[in-house]
């Protein structure tokens, strides 16, 4: 009596997908928007495709959706136009501001120097928050690309930075306020006119606090300030 060769359940055509195969498809469907995820998983649940084809379907759709986002100017502006250059600018600012503050703390009698260093640090924090806000609000679905564009120079500089331990972190003073700004920007929080004007003023002031190179670079990075101001104006209309 010949025994039929055992077929792996749920891995061939003609059987519903279940178990680990289905879980991997569900995980891949996490890349889709919630509404589309339900529709696609429903379609796959009632067909008898094999796991690999179903996975290809889900990943293919997610890739097409991502690609279609990049036809717009927003992801380019957020990642290559802001996140990448701003991370380089802010790393320089973070190092300069922290070095100033360390020097001022050593000479506490010079109150003016301490005040100047603190104001520089505050400017860096505010600028980082504003840049993060703009990145978050300009292109929410492609935040991963902006994060990548920000992290690559940071990781490179950390690997090249001669400092050890805590001195490493001087490079990344801007990171937390920037992340806070992204979080606020993602929630589409409307900025009041006063806040927008304050941030625009900070954006103008921040490059002025540094030497010639920082000035030129910072002036080129003024567009987030104008974006914040323009968005507020449109919302008020």
């Amino acid at each position: 009596m010949g025994r039929e060769p055992a077929q792996p359940f749920a891995w061939g055509r003609g059987m519903k997908i279940r178990g680990a195969g289905w879980r991997s498809i569900e995980a891949a469907a996490g890349l889709l928007s919630p509404g589309e995820r339900e529709v696609v998983l429903g379609d796959l649940a009632e067909t008898d495709r094999d796991v690999w084809r179903a996975l290809r379907d889900v990943l293919g759709l997610a890739a097409r959706r991502q690609l279609s986002l990049w036809r717009n100017w927003r992801p380019w502006a957020a990642s290559l136009g802001l996140a990448l250059p701003a991370s380089l600018f802010l790393m320089g600012c973070s190092v300069a501001a922290s070095a100033d503050l360390a020097g001022a703390l050593r000479e506490l009698e010079q109150v003016q120097l301490l005040w100047f260093s603190l104001s520089r640090l505050l400017l860096v924090i505010a600028w980082a928050w504003m840049a993060g806000f703009v990145v978050g609000s300009v292109s929410r679905p492609t935040l991963w690309a902006s994060l990548l564009a920000c992290c690559v120079p940071c990781l490179y500089c950390l690997s090249e930075w001669p400092g050890q331990g805590l001195s490493h972190l001087r490079l990344l003073i801007f990171f937390l306020p920037g992340a806070w700004g992204v979080w606020r920007g993602r929630r589409e929080t409307q900025l009041g006119l006063r806040w927008a004007i304050l941030l625009a003023a900070i954006a103008m002031l921040t490059p002025l606090m540094w030497s010639k190179g920082g000035l030129v670079y910072g002036c080129w990075l003024l567009w987030p300030a104008w974006y914040v101001a323009a968005t507020v104006r449109r919302k008020q209309e």
Binding site: V40, D43, L61
Partner: protein, 134 residues
């Protein structure tokens, strides 16, 4: 008077060019599958029709991206159905071909039939049709 008539003609051609919506081959397949299924047209069913009747492989990605494009052109209308038990309690994206969709598909079909007449593939298809074989 002559100039005015020319202007009118130009306006008519302009309107014609604007109203005419060109569709591609895959868009035509999707419109045809949706029309075949009628009230029961949704993603998985349409894919089955395209693959069995059309003899083409069809990925869900291509299907849904093209559906979005057709909806943007106003050739189909889509909406979410109520969740069904068969799909594990998940909703379907239902599809209906609009009047503009029917017109666009008809124009595409007529263009294909016209341009195929007199060609080897056009004639061989005609000879295989049941009515012509007798």
């Amino acid at each position: 008077m002559h100039t005015f008539k020319n202007r009118l003609d130009a306006a008519r051609h302009y309107t014609h060019n604007v109203v005419l919506i060109m569709i591609g081959e895959f868009e035509f397949l999707i419109l045809s599958a949706a029309a075949h299924l009628g009230e029961e047209a949704y993603g998985a069913a349409m894919r089955e029709v395209i693959e069995t009747k059309g003899g083409r492989t069809c990925s869900l990605g291509a299907l849904y991206i093209t559906l979005d494009r057709l909806e943007a052109k106003g050739l189909v209308k889509t909406w979410m159905s109520a969740p069904t038990q068969q799909r594990g309690g998940r909703a379907k994206r239902m599809v209906r071909v609009t009047r503009e969709g029917v017109r666009a598909a008809r124009e595409f079909y007529q263009a294909v039939i016209k341009i195929s007449s007199g060609t080897v593939w056009g004639e061989s298809l005609r000879s295989r049709l049941p009515g012509d074989a007798v």
